[in-house]
């Protein structure tokens, strides 16, 4: 988890990002201020992707052939998932967007960001 470290001589706290930060469904819910059921629903709808299980040989989260889905409560998420949940809640609460609209808006936002980055890289 990204936590402030002890201040240095400047007296200011130091935040160190952790690329391997992982949050359980419950912690993810607590940080974003929604219920665990909401986190699980967003996962099932494909809005957020859990980190792959480090103990699993597979890169995917579920194997459709095996018929055994992981326990939703055991899923872990990263910082980007937290941000996405907050963004979804914002769109739902302030703009009244339904879930079909959310899918469209989130994919458009992602596409615009990718295109802008690509344009910027070409300059």
């Amino acid at each position: 988890m990204n936590r402030p470290q002890q201040p240095d001589e400047s007296g200011l706290p130091i935040y160190e990002p952790d690329d391997h930060a992982a949050y359980s469904t419950e912690i993810c819910a607590r940080i974003t201020g929604v219920s665990t059921e909401t986190i699980i629903r967003y996962h099932q709808q494909g809005f957020i992707r859990p980190l792959s299980d480090p103990d699993s040989d597979s890169d995917t989260d579920t194997d459709p052939c095996s018929g055994s889905e992981p326990d939703p409560a055991s899923l872990v998420f990263d910082d980007e998932a937290l941000r996405t949940v907050r963004k979804i809640e914002h769109l739902r609460n302030t703009c009244g967007v339904n879930e079909s609209g959310l899918k469209l808006i989130l994919s458009l936002i992602e596409e615009i960001e990718t295109l802008r980055d690509s344009l910027r890289a070409r300059r």
Binding site: M1, N2, R3, P4, D8, S10, L12, P13, I14, Y15, E16, P17, D19, H20, A21, I31, G33, D79, E80, L82, R83, R86, K87, E89, H90, N93, T94, E113, D117, L119, R120, A121, R123
Partner: protein, 316 residues
């Protein structure tokens, strides 16, 4: 809180009607001169380099340039002051960064900074609500992306309940290998919560500073390498710069324009894995402009001798 106008055209030393190519050329020339890695006076060069980057960030982007140009020469006289901080319910930005590598002027008008969170139209004080998340950009040089750094950030932010401006000061470690577009989450440094609820988070989106020699894509580093037509045809060896020293590159015979020559493991570091991205030299075959008579004679001889015809279609 008025912001100081930045004359980006003056910073790049170009006229207001400069073409996109002129802007790029001016940026590269100045960025090479003031790049902290090569400048002799590093402290003054660093600020100059940031100014040049910021100017290019705006003028190099047609949309941002158009917006900037709308300010006009009389901007300072006509400008409306930025929205004041601390007006509850105000829909404009109610925060301001410093230490991100961008000026207040840029932050005010051109930054991608935004905030989002839960609605603020609920009656205040009726129930606790977590503060909004805030997003902003942080300019990171490729040297910082290579080696990491520690940056001091100051965030002025209005309390949505009281309207009082608070200043959050903290440091953020930029990890080696940080990629362009990567967001760094700083927990609880966003907008203050209401009714004792937690503050929101702050997300800093990394923007790699434009570099005169290199660009990046993920952990890979790209370098445009200008070569002559005969170097492309005959092959050669060229010493090229990388982010950590020079390497000698073998240009193979019959190289083509835009061909990518890879040097494994000379890109940005990949987190804690110890691995690195790759380095690509992108060949750019340059043609001589107005060659002197003796060279022109050689080109004419080549024309008369060569059987090469790029417009011949294969019948296969």
């Amino acid at each position: 809180m008025p912001v100081e106008f930045k004359d980006y055209y003056q910073i790049l030393g170009i006229p207001r009607d400069a073409s996109a190519a002129d802007i790029k050329k001016a940026f590269r020339k100045l960025a090479r001169k003031y790049h902290p890695d090569v400048a002799t006076d590093k402290s003054s060069a660093e600020q100059k380099f940031k100014d040049i980057n910021e100017a290019y960030e705006v003028l190099g982007d047609p949309q941002k340039r158009q917006k900037y140009d709308q300010f006009g020469p009389g901007w300072q006289a006509d400008a409306q002051p930025p929205p004041p901080y601390g007006r509850p319910g105000h829909t404009s930005r109610e925060f301001n960064f410093s230490g991100t590598g961008f000026s207040d002027f840029f932050e005010q008008y051109f930054s991608g900074a935004s905030r989002y969170g839960f609605p603020r139209d609920i009656p205040r004080g009726t129930r606790p609500a977590r503060g909004n998340d805030i997003e902003g950009d942080i300019l990171v040089t490729l040297d910082e992306a290579m080696h990491g750094s520690l940056r001091s950030i100051s965030l002025q932010i209005a309390n949505p309940q009281t309207g009082k401006v608070q200043t959050h000061e903290f440091q953020v470690r930029i990890p080696p290998g940080v990629t362009n577009g990567k967001r760094i989450r700083i927990p609880k440094q966003g907008e203050p919560g209401i009714g004792g609820a937690d503050p929101g988070d702050l997300y800093l989106r990394v923007r790699h500073a434009a570099h005169p020699d290199f660009s990046t894509d993920g952990h890979d580093v790209y370098h445009d390498l200008d070569i002559t037509p005969w170097e492309a045809v005959l092959g050669t060896q060229i010493t090229v710069p990388t982010l950590d020293g020079n390497v000698t590159l073998r240009i193979p015979q019959n190289s083509e324009n835009n061909q990518h020559l890879r040097v494994r493991g000379r890109g940005l570091p990949k987190a804690k894995s110890g691995q690195r991205g790759d380095y690509y030299a992108v060949l750019n075959i340059k043609l001589p402009q107005n060659p002197p008579p003796e060279e022109r004679a050689l080109w004419e001889k080549l024309r008369d001798t060569s059987t090469f015809n790029p417009r011949t279609r294969s019948s296969a």
